[in-house]
Symmetry: C2
Subunit: 336 residues, 2 copies
DNA sequence: AAGATCATCCAAAACGTTTTGGGTGTCAAC
DNA sequence: GTTGACACCCAAAACGTTTTGGATGATCTT
C-alpha cells in the first residue's frame, strides 16, 4: 500500500528526495538517506513496477517464444535453461515471460503484439528457420533479440548455437573410420537451420569419404518421425549399418524401429541434444551435445548486452559439439 | 512509435474519443469508431502496456515460482503445462513470467518482491509444503494465488491437486490383492504435502490389510534418493516384494538399485507422475497420474477467477489418480 | 417554445514513478 | 560584503493510458 507520496509525507520530505535517497544519489545527505532507507524498509516499500516502467520507458521484461509445432526444443532440459536465464535476468531487474503462440495466431503476430505494445525490452527466439520471418520482423523494427540457433539472414544478429556442421561431420567420419560404409542420416525439416546444417555436415563427410549421401530420410523432428524415417531406410536393399539422427527425439524413434526389425540391434545410432531420456532408452542412446557451461546465463547475458546496444557481431556464440558415448553405437567393428 | 496522442492529432479527435473508440464504447458514433479503427490498424497502434498497467492498476502478469531444490516438479511435462497455462492467460491479456528463486534469496523474499512491487496480479505456487510460508505470506497480504498441491493452511485457498492418498491407498491394496505382503514405501520429505499424503495412503492401506507400515524409507525426491532408499530396503531381512514410490524420479532410482541386486528384477515397482522417462526405463515403469485434461488451462482458469475475486472454496480441484500399467509391477503372482 | 432526452465528443485528472532544472542556505575566498 | 562553490533539497513535468464528469447540439415531448 505504501507509495512514494505517503512515504515522503510521513518523513516530511519531498517525493523527489525520497526517490533519490533510495536510488543512492549523492545529492542527498547521508543522514537523510539513512533515515529514508530505514523508513522504506520498515514500510516494506517497493517502487511500483508499472509506474517505473512507464517513466523509464522500459518494460523490464523479456519474452521467450515457445514453438507450438511438435518436436522437442533443442537444449537439454529446456526448462532448466529458461530457469537459469530468468534467474540471471532477474539479477538485472528483468523478468522472463514465456510466450507460447496462441491457437490461431502466428508467431509473427505474437512478436508484433510484444513489440508494438512495448510489452518487453527484448525477445528470445528458439527453433530458428533458415529464413525466419520473426527475425526479419524484429530486424525491421530495430528491436533487440537473441536467437537460439542461427539463420541465413543477411543482417547479423545475436545468437547462441552449436556447430552442427562440425558435429555431424565428425560423427560421420568417426563411423567411417570404424569401418562403416553405409551411413544414413535421419534429418529434420530443412527449413529449420539446425536441421539443414546438420545434414550438410553429414553430406560433406560422406563425400570426403567418397561415399554418396544417398541414405537420407527426412521427417518431422519427433519420435514418430524418427520411427518412420528408420522404417524407410530399413526397407532399402542397401540397408545402413549406422544412422546419424538430427535429434535425440528422432533417434529414440529410430531405436524403436530397430527393435522391431531383424538384425536391427546391430545397427549403430547416434543422436543429438543429450536429452535426459537418452540415458534410459535401450540401448542407451549415444548422442552429441553443445559444449559451454550455463546456457541460461549466456542467453541472459546476450539479451542484456543487446538491450544495452552492443553490436550483433559481438554477441554471437558458436559452441563446439562433443560426443556423449553410450551403448547405441558400435565403433570397434574394425578399429584400425 | 505511434501513441494515442499522435493518433488523435492525425484524426482531428481528442485522445479520449480515440481511446474509447478503440475500446468499443457506445458513446462514440459508429462512423468515427470505424474511422479510428482503420487509422489505428494502419498505424499498427497498440496501447502502451506500461501506461495501461499503471492506469488500470493491474500488472497483467502472473508469476509462477520455480523451485530451486532438486527433484522434478510434479505434473508430467511441466513446461507443457506452463505453456498451456500461459496460452490461456494470454487469452485474457495476461502474461506468465517464470520466477526461479535467485541464488541467496528465499522463495518468500521473491514473493515479497512480486507482491509489494505490484509486479504481478497473482502467483502460481508449485511444490507446496504442509506448512508453506509462501502461502501464509500471500494470505496475510490478501494476494491472489493458486497452488499446485494442497497445504495444511487453516485458511482455504485455491489449488489443483491429485488425490495422492487414494492413489497410494489403491496402489497398495492392489499389490495386497495380488498376493504381496511385504509392500514398501519409498517416500519423500514429509514437509511436502504431496509426500506426506502419499505416505499416509500407503500406511492406511497397510493397516487395513493388517500389515504394519514398517518397510519405509525416506529420501530426497530425486533419482539418487530413490536409489539410496531402495538400497536401504533391500539390505533388510524382510526384503519387500513390492515398492510403492512417491515419485517417478525416485522410482527410476529404485529400478537402478534393483538391477544391481540379486533377484531385484522380481520386485514390483510403481511410481507416480507419469514422467515421459518412465516409458524408457528398463523395465518400463508402471506409474500413476492425475486425471483431468488440460492442466495448464485449469490453472489459468483458477488464476483468472481468483483474481476476479471468486472465493477460494469454489476454486479447489482434487483430481483422482489413475494407473498407468507398464512392466515394472507384477500383479498376476496369485491373482484370485 | 421550453424542457427533457439523447448522441457525440472532450478537457482534465489520475495512476506512481524518475528526472529536469532550479532554489536556498552555508562556508570559504577575495 | 560580494562571489563562487558546495551541500542539500524540492516543485513540476513527463511517461501514455483510462476514466470522470461534463459540454454541445440535435431531436423528441409536452
Amino acid at each position: 500500500m505504501a507509495n512514494l507520496k505517503q512515504l515522503a509525507q510521513s518523513l516530511g520530505l519531498s517525493i523527489t528526495t525520497v526517490s533519490r535517497a533510495l536510488d543512492g544519489y549523492s545529492d542527498v545527505s547521508a543522514a537523510t538517506r539513512q533515515r529514508v532507507r530505514e523508513a522504506a524498509d520498515k514500510a516494506g516499500y517497493r517502487p511500483n513496477a508499472s509506474a517505473r516502467r512507464l517513466r523509464k520507458q522500459r518494460a523490464e521484461l523479456v519474452a521467450v517464444t515457445l514453438p507450438s509445432e511438435p518436436g522437442h526444443i533443442g537444449p537439454l532440459h529446456f526448462l532448466d535453461m529458461l530457469s537459469g536465464c530468468a534467474e540471471h535476468l532477474a539479477g538485472a531487474g528483468l523478468n522472463l515471460v514465456i510466450a507460447p503462440v496462441p491457437h490461431g495466431e502466428s508467431e509473427l503476430d505474437m512478436c508484433r503484439r510484444f513489440v508494438d505494445g512495448r510489452r518487453v525490452d527484448a525477445m528470445l527466439l528458439v527453433r530458428t528457420k533458415r529464413q525466419d520471418e520473426r527475425v526479419e520482423f524484429l530486424q525491421s523494427r530495430g528491436f533487440p533479440f537473441v536467437t537460439n540457433g542461427r539463420t541465413e539472414s543477411a543482417i547479423q544478429h545475436p545468437f547462441i548455437d552449436g556447430d552442427g556442421f562440425s558435429g555431424f561431420h565428425a560423427a560421420t567420419l568417426r563411423f567411417h573410420q570404424a569401418g562403416h560404409r553405409r551411413i544414413a542420416h535421419v534429418g529434420g525439416p530443412q527449413d529449420y537451420f539446425f536441421a539443414h546444417v546438420r545434414r550438410q555436415g553429414w553430406e560433406a563427410a560422406m563425400s570426403e569419404c567418397g561415399l554418396s549421401p544417398d541414405l537420407y530420410s527426412e521427417q518431422m523432428p519427433t519420435e514418430q518421425g524418427g520411427y518412420e524415417a528408420a522404417l524407410a531406410l530399413l526397407a532399402r536393399s542397401d540397408r545402413p549399418t549406422a544412422i546419424v539422427c538430427a535429434t535425440d527425439e528422432m533417434a529414440t524413434g529410430v531405436l524403436r524401429a530397430l527393435r522391431e526389425v531383424d538384425g536391427g540391434q546391430s545397427i549403430s545410432v547416434v543422436g543429438h541434444d543429450d536429452l535426459p531420456i537418452g540415458a534410459f532408452t535401450s540401448p542407451a542412446l549415444s548422442t552429441m551435445r553443445m559444449t559451454g557451461g550455463n546456457l541460461g546465463r549466456s542467453f541472459a547475458s546476450l539479451l542484456l548486452r543487446t538491450i544495452a546496444g552492443e553490436p550483433a557481431e559481438a554477441l554471437q556464440e558458436l559452441h563446439s559439439i562433443e560426443f556423449v558415448d553410450r551403448d547405441s553405437h558400435h565403433l570397434p567393428t574394425i578399429l584400425a
